[in-house]
Symmetry: C2
């Protein structure tokens, strides 16, 4: 009998009517012949309310006491969903995090370490639906530990892996993964399937459907995921290790735009070994991660330009760090620009087809969109462009790669 984990976010648990609707979905899965474990979030807004109470109580508070307070939100929804399922004639019960989820790491930001399977296995094989509060477990010192804000996708995946589930379904307020942000391209198309790697790249560049950590964990555990609407009966998106053979899908899964970067260019930099390290090391020591990096050395010249991007909120700090190292690095001028965006094409097809990158650059050139930097990986090509050209870039690429909904119909 297939064993599945269904995870519901806070919006779908906000109030008894919505919990009843969630229970209806769970019922259908159970009656279709699956063993079902449900992971629930707190009602939308509840965790924020509890966090605010902690802040009012003490600006700096003991994370162990914080955990006790904020974990209560999911405890409530788990109990309510279990009794709602029972009221529909199903056999169901809640398990608290402290009863079976062993967590490691620091309080307030712990990770699932192990699941005590025996009681769960017993319940599931007896046909009972198990309801578990997301986002929490018990620490090594026997106290309530939460898994970090927004970590409930990851805890659902960890629980699914821990109980040997065949699939983990994430019910959320979007109905799947799209070829791009539908607010930019109204005829963006929902993907039937996407690979873990593609999903990681899409998430990394701004598609906020699932937590990156949850996708990485599912990939390692070879656990298929699905993203589905909690509110409508629509097919969602499967996230899998390899695209199905019968899946006719574009080589490009989607186009992503990320506005969270800022560019720094150092001109007239001495072209010598260790020069890039001289720039990156002080930034790393300040906790600032570099994403794109382009070293444009002109043949025959002894001095060149170095362009890289940092997270936009860290731009001022990064500029200060570099200026402080001016003598060591040896550059002429520092130019920075926050009004940039990274536009990427993502797809497993890129690996085997270099023509795709070429098509991307040609398409952008036709529209006179200037490339400030370019990086490529196995399944992604990214171009840094002026922020005011980002939406145009996404639209023309979406069209050029045959992703518009009309063409797919």
């Amino acid at each position: 009998m297939p064993r599945i984990v269904m995870k519901f976010g806070g919006t779908s648990m906000a109030g008894i009517e919505r919990i009843r609707s969630v229970a209806g979905r769970v019922k259908r899965e159970a009656e279709a012949g699956s063993e079902v474990l449900v992971v629930v979030s707190a009602m939308a807004g509840e965790t924020d309310r509890l966090v605010q109470l902690c802040r009012e109580a003490a600006a700096l508070h003991d994370p162990r006491e914080y955990d006790v307070v904020v974990a209560s939100g999911e405890q409530v929804t788990a109990g309510l969903l279990a009794m709602t399922l029972q009221n529909m004639g199903l056999s169901a019960r809640s398990f608290m995090g402290w009863q079976l989820i062993k967590a490691s790491g620091v309080h307030g930001n712990a990770r699932v370490e192990a699941i005590e399977r025996s009681a769960l296995d017993e319940a599931l094989t007896a046909g009972e639906i198990a309801v578990i509060p997301g986002f929490q477990g018990v620490s090594h010192d026997g106290r309530v530990a939460t898994l970090g804000r927004g970590g409930s996708d990851t805890s659902a995946v960890a629980i699914a892996a821990g109980i040997g589930a065949d699939r983990c379904d994430i019910y959320t307020d979007v109905d799947g993964v799209y070829t791009t942000d539908p607010r930019i391209v109204p005829n963006a198309r929902k993907l039937g399937q996407v690979t873990f790697e593609e999903m990681l790249e899409l998430a990394g560049v701004g598609a906020k459907v699932l937590q990156t950590r949850s996708v990485g964990l599912a990939m390692r555990e070879k656990l298929p995921l699905r993203v589905l609407s909690a509110f409508e009966d629509l097919p969602g998106t499967e996230i899998v290790a390899e695209l199905g053979a019968d899946m006719e899908r574009n080589a490009i899964a989607g186009i992503a735009a990320d506005r969270n970067e800022a560019r720094i260019t150092l001109t007239g930099i001495a072209d010598r070994p260790g020069m890039v390290a001289a720039v990156i090391t002080p930034l790393a020591e300040a906790g600032i991660a570099i994403d794109m990096i382009v070293h444009a050395a002109t043949a025959g010249e002894r001095r060149s330009d170095l362009t890289f991007t940092v997270p936009r909120p860290a731009l001022a700090q990064a500029t200060a760090v570099i200026e402080a190292q001016k003598a060591t690095i040896g550059f002429e001028t520092l130019m920075s620009d926050a009004a940039v965006a990274k536009v990427s094409i993502v797809g497993v097809g890129i690996r085997s087809n270099p023509a795709l990158a070429a098509r991307m650059f040609e398409t952008l050139a036709e529209r006179k969109i200037n490339l400030l930097a370019v990086t490529t990986s196995e399944i992604k090509v990214s171009a840094l462009v002026a922020e005011n050209q980002a939406e145009l870039a996404v639209r023309v690429l979406h069209s050029a790669f045959g992703l518009d909904a009309e063409k797919a119909a």
Copy 2:
């Protein structure tokens, strides 16, 4: 080092400002050199909100899931109080009910069975203040169990007994136990001391300061209680096994009025053995408790009257039960009256001084207050009077027994 339990109700935990004020009181006790354990209720209104959610989810719900939902309210306040105490520079931590309170009996209405003392003892002797959510523990099947609505006084007393506390202080929204209801007698006086037995009688006849069960448990465990205001710095009332020798207090602790009774009189009842049982047994089988009972047999007559009281909400049902047994019991008429009240004098002095009962009846007779029934116990004399004479009866008795505040000053 004295070890004390401080219990705070929902009104004193309603919001961060009030929790801070509670923390200030706890701090003073700790700094005065006591080992302190604090038992907290949920924020006022929170348990009602959670109960309502359960009702909406399912009219008939699994008490084990109900427990999971409603127990969350006290977990939140326990965590918040612990972090507030830490923020004041004190060493403090919360313990959840499932970590140390073993509960027995049914879910939703369990009782404290045992306290796992070792972790608590360790914390307390190390100078840590322990904060425990009231009203909950862990059941034999390892799940969250709540101790029944309003049971947090009782759970505080049980915890205090379980950890060998020297005293249990109940902080509430009244500042002590009064000689009578101050809404009836504005110059009612706060008692410095009252015995367990007096408190049980005062509670049983309507003084709602503490739960009857909590007083009974403290009496069995010989655990002194104090009732104190959570909001004002006033001396409260001590509840003790015996009044202190230096305590100059009236023989009568207080006057109570109870409007929750209704009277039934059966006239012309056959005066034969087993007659009273023939009336009481069918009522007991219907779950209706009888309080006062007066069998007025007239000498030489073969028929007599039987008067008794039942809880007012059960009057209609009791009448129906008796009418159905009319042939078996054998009575002429059934008269019932809901407009009655039971007025009692309560005090350990009654045991040794029969003149006190006589003074009560004389005082009522002087005011032409008719006695519908009378019962006496070791430390209480009760008279059933017409409801519209009850307040007058309380006032004149309060005065006659020297309880008015002016005389005490």
